[in-house]
């Protein structure tokens, strides 16, 4: 019996070890185009995993429509557990073994920054990376990277402006993830508050893996913070709101779009999320916009077990421009042709704000909408895309940098 087990294990390993690598450098052939992605399917940011699955759905949807110019999309999604080191291993696997042409909707600031240079060195086109850290796009030195994520600093600046000007809030505190995502947002909010002659009563960093935020919440309460701005991962966000409720602390919560899936957050916090104001990257997933209805129906068909929520819709938003560019590139595909096609994306409208890329500007999106969580996680739009209010006009770092 022992011998049999070991023989079986040995054979299984041998079979898997000899699985050939497909690396040839182009990322496509006559039958398929290989697209890679990563995102946390497990770990502290697992709820964000819906974003990656939204991108995966988009590939399935394209394939259902017959593919692009006769080629099917092979979508390779890997779980990096929100761990940048794991992302680095995954990126090497996607590039060197899976031979992907492009990556899309790769999630997380630290994970994406960890692989940004490696992807550029290997001329892998990266479209719609899910991070708004300014270090991703600026300074513009990477011709292969196209972002459609409103910068964290810009978004938090606009949310702070909304809190001060429209909600007449004061006595602010900031809860931020101790990484570029949190730092950028903190700087954006500080700059905005300074323009009103105000500053935070307290700024508290949290780690994405932290499960106990009682001391942090007590600190916010003891400092008399009435409005808590947040730029954190889902788990700390949920823990913060629940902990505050347990100690009878009821501030106004304002979060970046990173926790802007109100239906999911409402469910995960047992309704405590109601009243929270946040940024919004996409249209209301439960709305009746024709494009939303189209994808919602398709998702029921192709991914029946997957909730059609804002994060899932974000995955569609981030990846769709890549597929649009592949269509525009025509049947004679090459990386250069695809790059040219991406650089000519102008006012592309999908499930979020319009996206425009030019050879000199790969940021693509400069606005966020402001939404509020209503009863049962319903989305209430406070400020929509396209209005001057949702653009950050301060951007001190940008003006100073002379980019």
């Amino acid at each position: 019996m022992k011998k049999l087990i070991f023989v079986f294990l040995f054979l299984a390993m041998l079979c898997c070890a000899i699985t050939p690598s497909g690396y040839c450098g182009e990322g496509f052939d006559d039958k398929e185009i290989r697209i890679g992605s990563w995102g946390p399917q497990t770990g502290p940011a697992a709820p964000w995993g819906s974003i990656s699955r939204g991108a995966m759905f988009m590939a399935m949807y394209i394939n259902e429509q017959g593919g692009i110019h006769g080629r099917k999309i092979k979508f390779i999604l890997r779980d990096d557990k929100y761990n940048p080191a794991e992302t680095k291993v995954i990126a090497k696997d996607l590039v060197e073994r899976q031979d992907v042409m492009a990556v899309t909707a790769g999630l997380g600031s630290a994970p994406t920054l960890a692989v940004k240079d490696y992807l550029a060195e290997n001329k892998v086109i990266a479209v719609g990376m899910c991070t708004g850290t300014k270090g991703l796009v600026y300074p513009v030195t990477n011709p292969y990277l196209f972002s459609s994520f409103c910068l964290f600093g810009d978004e938090m600046s606009v949310l702070t402006k909304y809190a001060v000007e429209k909600m007449k809030m004061e006595d602010f505190g900031f809860l931020y993830q101790n990484d570029p995502m949190g730092w950028d947002a903190l700087n954006g909010a500080r700059e905005r508050l300074a323009s009103y002659g105000m500053k935070f009563l307290v700024e508290i960093p949290v780690e994405p893996t932290e499960k106990d935020l009682s001391s942090q919440i007590m600190k916010l309460k003891s400092k008399g913070v009435k409005c808590v701005l947040m730029q954190v991962a889902p788990t700390p966000g949920i823990v913060a709101v629940k902990t505050a409720a347990q100690i009878g602390y009821k501030p106004q919560w304002i979060s970046a779009d990173t926790l802007g899936d109100h239906a999911t957050m409402y469910k995960l916090t047992n309704g405590l999320w109601e009243g929270t104001v946040s940024g919004g990257k996409v249209l209301d997933p439960n709305g009746n916009d024709p494009i939303i209805v189209k994808y919602r129906e398709a998702a029921k068909r192709l991914m029946p077990d997957q909730p059609f929520n804002a994060w899932f819709l974000s995955g569609i938003f981030f990846s769709e421009p890549l597929f649009e560019a592949l269509k525009k590139a025509g049947p004679n595909l090459s990386k250069d042709v695809l790059l040219k096609s991406l650089n000519s994306i102008t006012k592309f409208m999908s499930t979020g704000p319009s996206i425009t890329w030019t050879p000199a500007d790969h940021q693509g999106v400069y606005e966020t909408r402001i939404i509020k969580c209503g009863p049962n996680g319903q989305v209430i739009v406070l400020e929509d895309f396209g209005t001057p209010f949702v653009h950050n006009t301060l951007r001190g770092w940008y003006k100073k940098s002379g980019i």
Partner: protein
């Protein structure tokens, strides 16, 4: 069969000449690996060799000295960060920075070894666990270490730029040869240590520390030395790891990594250098290659993905991978408690006594 009758037998490297020839051929074969493997496979092999160094070091502590550490990821982290900082801030040459990274880790190992004089077993495990977790959080908070953003490794220049000598290794093949040479040196050194007075003192402490002390083994020196040597290996491994991945970040050095290191030596075989190597190779291979490739097998791959999507996770084999890894480890430990080294010993015995039982 393993009984030694003379001192000479105990210190000799190879009992028979043909074993030496086989070992030499094996090492030569290792140098030809880049002919058969490229790209991602070489990257995985580099990772495997780094873990071999760490596992060999950990086995000196756990397998030979009978101490426990579930904070080895902390030493590994110290080595990785020290390496990058020494090269970027102090512009040290690679070899000097690598050795110094090892010694910095060894210093922490020495400090952690001190409590081992007072606490044992699960209590010592908790102390080491605390160390591993503390290191991770200190690194994560300090700007010097890049905080949560981590640090990018500098170009791997193995020359001495101060003398105008520069040789930057950029490819995985170049890194492979560098790491292979260092791994061979580290493994031979470990085998050498275990055949000296120090190694015998370690084994004596493992078997019975009171009896060892009665026989003149200074527990203060040898227990802390064992921790320091083990940490040195982890530090050197960490230093090389920073260049294999070109990036370090605090939370990759978590408790799970410390446990994976332990699993490597338990699966390979405690108290065996060869066992450490086999364990590190097997576990790293399972984690980074085998279970990632399963999905690409014809029919079986699709079937497993379908099961996983139905019952475990909607994206495929991610959670399933961890379960299979756990099951394989459990099977090895249940059916072969001495680890893979136990199988090798039985096979050797069978061959030597064949055709008699």
């Amino acid at each position: 069969m393993e009984m030694k009758r003379e001192y000479y037998e105990d210190i000799q490297y190879f009992k028979k000449k043909w074993v030496m020839v086989v070992a030499a051929v094996f090492i030569l074969l290792l140098f030809t690996i880049p002919i058969y493997f490229t790209g991602y496979s070489l990257f995985i092999l580099n990772l495997i060799m780094v873990y071999v160094i760490v596992a060999v070091g950990l086995n000196i502590l756990v397998g030979y000295t009978g101490q426990i550490s579930i904070g080895h990821a902390g030493f590994f982290a110290v080595g990785a960060y020290a390496m990058i900082l020494l090269m970027t801030l102090l512009h040290m040459p690679f070899i000097l920075a690598l050795v110094l990274s090892g010694f910095i880790s060894a210093f922490f190992g020495f400090l952690l070894g001190l409590p081992s004089l007072r606490v044992k077993g699960p209590y010592l495990a908790i102390v080491t666990l605390g160390f591993g977790m503390t290191i991770m959080h200190i690194i994560g908070q300090a700007n010097l270490f890049g905080g949560r953003l981590g640090l990018q490794a500098p170009p791997l220049d193995v020359g001495v730029t101060q003398l105008g000598l520069s040789w930057v290794l950029t490819t995985d093949v170049q890194k492979f040869y560098l790491i292979l040479i260092i791994t061979i040196i580290m493994v031979v050194a470990a085998r050498n240590i275990m055949k000296t007075r120090i190694g015998r003192a370690f084994v004596a402490i493992r078997d019975d520390d009171i009896a060892a002390e009665v026989n003149g083994v200074d527990l203060l020196i040898y227990k802390t030395l064992s921790f320091a040597i083990s940490a040195f290996y982890a530090g050197v491994g960490g230093g090389l790891f920073s260049f294999v991945l070109s990036f370090v970040e605090p939370f990759q050095f978590n408790v799970l990594l410390s446990i994976i290191f332990l699993v490597m030596i338990i699966v390979g075989g405690l108290g065996s250098i060869v066992g450490s190597i086999v364990g590190a190779v097997l576990i790293t291979f399972l984690q980074y290659s085998l279970l990632k490739n399963v999905r690409e097998l014809p029919v079986l791959g699709d079937w497993l993905v379908a099961i996983s999507q139905k019952w475990f996770t909607v994206i495929g084999l991610e959670n399933f991978n961890s379960m299979i890894l756990g099951i394989i480890i459990a099977l090895i430990i249940i059916f072969e408690p001495k680890g893979i080294n136990g199988i090798w010993l039985r096979f050797k015995k069978y061959c030597l006594t064949w055709p008699f039982k």
